[in-house]
Amino acid sequence: MIATKPKDFEELLNRLAEADSIYIVGCGDCATVLQTGGEYEVAEMKKKLEDAGKTVSGTIVPDITCQVLDIKRLLRGDKEAIQSADAILVMACGAGVQAVAEIIDDREVFAALDTTFAADKFRGGEFYEWCSLCGECIVDQYGGVCPVTRCPKGQLNGPCGGSEKGKCEVDTERDCVWTLIYNRLDKVGDKQEIEDRMAEPKDHEKSTKPHEYVFEARRG
């Protein structure tokens, strides 16, 4: 899922200075799990905005805000509240914000959240970036642990010299990914193979932005 975190509220109020009336869109998917844009957080935002002297003309939490056609139908049903708002505040990831902006093209749309990473979730409140959507998955070459993402320097041929007692130079609380890879390969996989193989540089052509997939869907 996509991780998000709330922007500073004062900063957000500054951005919304020109808007008296605001319509809020949350997200029932990732932002709900991350507790940044679910029903609860949207209600909380509504109250905070009202306490700051704003009018909230309406709120909505679509199941999945980045499903453009679904939210188009949904927002059409709330046309009046949207029309009476000066601005739209979206409590979803950047994909959600742009989905809303695509549909509501006559109002300024603001992001309430910063979009941070593709998250692996453990228990509630514990999310980690293990995949950086690089366009070419090579985790099977590293015992199932991704050095592209979990090493700040993306080191493919072994640890950098900053690795200290199995920890990372950038955050000494965090395990060096090469410690994790070695531990993993001790259990499963082939350590010799990783020692012998000269890993080639990543092909960044495969991660040229913006990506798009347009195909004839087989289902749904």
Binding site: P152, K153, G154, Q155, L156, N157, G158, P159, C160, G161, G162, S163, E164, K165, G166, E169, V170, W178, T179, Y182, I194, E195, M198, A199, E200, P201, K202, H204
Partner: protein, 290 residues
């Protein structure tokens, strides 16, 4: 002399290091190098060391070369993608700078521009491979170079005090397989740590220059212990620096002991004097190396 020539001669190799300033006056840096004239086979010029913005390694190397001193161009992977790295390697060769040390580089957030975009398009193994390809007459994409290819003498680094050591040694072997012809190490303060590393590393087939950072004070030693990965200054050394009447003299004595303790296991010494190049001569003379 150059590092390439020193390797070819089979002698005990000596190198030192200078850092370009944050500014456009390199006289002091050249003066630092001047203090090593005739004493060392190469003088490393650091590349935006510790991610703190400053003049480039290449221009620092040119200044040393102009003064008749033998530069070793350090090259980190942090700030340039493969286009810029290869281009700068060619540019260095144009100017006759061919001793090149290939390094990963400290992370951006550790320096004075933490907002900078970290590049790390290549790692140090891949940078050595890229340089080797240029030496073979083609670039990383397989396109042929015009004219005679450049002839680099490529170096790499390793931290003998790293823990765990195994993955570091694995990577070191890859660097040598990629084409590194010499190794300079992170600072060593205990000959037995270095000996243990050499033992575990096995037959590398290229000279290893043990790195030495001269201690300037007990405070500096404590700082290194806290903040520099894989470097441990023994308590006994810190106590000696603390009790020293003449810190320079004590530092020279400690360094001489270190060099002598490393001579039988290392094939050379890489001094990182951090502005104390003027004291390198005293160390090397005392050791009978100058």
């Amino acid at each position: 002399m150059s590092v390439r020539q020193a390797i070819a001669s089979g002698k005990f190799i000596l190198t030192s290091e200078v850092g370009p300033p944050k500014g456009c006056h390199l006289d002091e840096m050249v003066e630092e190098g001047e203090a090593c004239r005739g004493l060392v086979d190469g003088i490393n010029v650091t590349d935006i060391q510790s991610s703190v913005m400053r003049a480039s390694s290449l221009v620092g190397c040119l200044k040393l070369q102009e003064a008749g001193l033998p530069p070793v161009m350090q090259m980190v992977c942090r700030d340039r993608n493969r286009l810029a790295l290869q281009s700068d390697l060619l540019s260095a060769a144009v100017m006759g700078i061919t001793d090149v040390l290939c390094i990963t580089g400290d992370y951006t957030t550790l320096g004075d521009h933490p907002q900078a975009k970290p590049v790390f398009d290549l790692d140090s193994v891949q940078l050595i491979q890229a340089a080797k390809m240029l030496m073979e007459g083609h670039d990383m994409a397989g396109n042929e170079l015009e004219g005679d290819p450049p002839q680099f003498c490529l170096g790499c680094v390793v931290n003998p005090g790293a823990e765990p050591l195994e993955p570091q040694i694995m990577k070191l072997h890859k660097k040598i397989r990629a084409g590194a012809e010499f190794v300079q190490t992170q600072a060593v303060y205990a000959p037995e740590v270095f000996a243990n590393f050499m033992n575990q590393a096995g037959d590398l087939g290229v000279p290893v220059l043990a790195g030495i950072v001269m201690l300037k004070s007990a405070g500096m030693a404590n700082y290194m212990n806290r903040f520099v990965s894989g470097v441990t200054v023994p308590d006994e050394m810190i106590a000696r620096m603390k009790a020293a009447d003449d810190r320079v003299q004590t530092s020279i004595e400690i360094t001489v002991e270190l060099v002598n303790g490393l001579r039988d296991t290392a094939q050379g010494i890489h001094m990182m004097p951090l502005g104390w190049n003027k004291h390198v001569a005293a160390v090397l003379k005392e050791c009978g190396l100058a």
